[in-house]
């Protein structure tokens, strides 16, 4: 069943971060519900925000990866909200994505 194998998400960018993503603030995405744990083995895990960040880098990011990611997570100065709640309350990158989630990435470093 497609509902079990994929997750629909709304991803938004703010604070100038949208400039790296085709200057589009809001994106509707469908991502796999289960993803490989790492590139080295076949073990899997449920799709989490760490996976979403990599997915955005590989599929939506148009330029300057270093302004979005650092050490496999978002660059310092980028805030993440999951369903209007700070991701620090939700386990940060380990938050398991659910169908209908809204994830917002906001840069605090627009320009200078």
């Amino acid at each position: 069943m497609s509902q079990d194998t994929t997750i629909s998400l709304k991803v938004e960018f703010g604070g100038g971060l949208e400039l790296l993503f085709s200057n589009k603030r809001s994106h509707q995405l469908t991502v796999p519900a289960t993803v490989p744990k790492s590139t080295e083995d076949n073990a899997t895990k449920q799709a989490d925000i760490t996976f979403l960040i990599r997915y955005l880098r590989d599929n939506l990011l148009q330029e300057r990866q270093e302004l979005f990611m650092e050490n496999e997570t978002v660059r310092p100065g980028i805030l993440v909200l999951v369903n209007d709640t700070d991701w620090e309350l939700e386990g940060e990158g380990e938050y398991v994505l659910k169908n209908g989630d809204e994830v917002v990435f906001i840069s605090t470093l627009h320009g200078g």
Binding site: G14, G15, P76, D86, L89, V104, T108, H110, G112
Partner: protein
Amino acid sequence: MADCGNPNVEQDALMQRRKKYDRTRQCVKCHDQLGNVVIRHAVYCKGCFFPTVVGKFRRVLEPSISKDKSKKGLKATGNLCLAFSGGLGSSVLLDLIGSNYFAAEGDAGHDWSRGRGGGTEHPRNEPVWEHATVCYVEVCNAIPGARDRTEEIRQIVSRLASYAKFLPLRLEDAFDHAWWERVGRSKPHGQLFVDLGHQDLLLSIRNTSSSPVAALKAYLASLPTQTAVPTAIHNLIRLLLLHTAQLTNSSHLLLGTSLTSLSISLISSIAQGGGFVVREEAQENWQPDSTSSQKVAVSRPLRDVGMKECAIWAWWRGLEVVGKENYLGGKQGIGALTKGFIIGLERDYPSTVSTIARTCAKLAPKEASDGLCTLCERPVQPGVQDWKERISIRQFDEKAAIARSQPGLIQRLCYACHTTLTSPSSRGGVGQSAIDAVQLPVWVESRVLGSDEMKDVVAEFLLDDED
């Protein structure tokens, strides 16, 4: 204490991830709702977040308006000047000022906790400032590849701050006599030039026809380090804003410096020799000249509000943040390095960033200043040149000895500005003759040539236009 296991025995032993918040997910204010945001380990729900930020904002701003809060409410002695860069902090500043001090009755954004009792004629309901001006300094001519964003900023200001008049400036105004006259100052007799290649920073007057843009570019190009250029731009913006505040009869100049950006500028300023004026970096009272009765209080009402709080505020309030031009320059400049360090620190140890600002607020110089720096118009540490001469290794230069009679800028600079203009280590490879004299900002001319004695001395070194 968290047990991280023994990495010698257990291969996968890792330190347990530490939670970014204290105790529970409940809001620390209402103890009722689940929290939405973590601010320096404390959890707030969305409903409590807004009054918390407003409270921090007012706690900093209102004592600078009036020490004793009477029943009649706050009343400033002059108008309000708001600095706007297009960045996050200044966008939040315009929104907070608008919703707290210029809101019309019925505005959704107005905080009615201040009350409106007593009718519209009641003195309590008089505006704190009669008029507000939003001032933007366009820096495109200082940054290669930057575009002029004045019109874009004008439109943003009309949406964010309809209560204020928009007043655009350009960075090159700092070298423009026409602007100097517009701010009510008398036109100097010529342009004041400084020889940055000479150790005494010799001064001369020239009558040149070069444009303010050319003068700005020459000034920035003559600076010795990657650090000096952004510092010089920052200083020019600061002085342009201060003189504009004076022009608009403003008693207050408000900057959108957040706690995070204040910590960055404090560390960066100290690293560049600005330790003596560390208090002024947070808050200062500026006087156009010693005879003037007008004072401008420079305040940073967001200095207790971190960048994260500003970003969340802007997102939840739906503010449009256009961003500001990045003039920090190369990655190896002190400003850029400090910013990278503090932003990383804020993510991993958020309380440490506020500790920087709190610690700096406790610092005070051992001795009082004996004058103002002609370039940055901030207090000068007494005896700084004697001390600098004692610790410097200099080469004897015959020409320098002959030029002793020619006045120099060196005695009129603070330690930080002297360091910005001259950096012996990096200048080492550059021949002194390779650096041409450059025009100084108009306020330096005014301060140096303001005294008749100096005017006569410098006038002896009147040079013809080389252009």
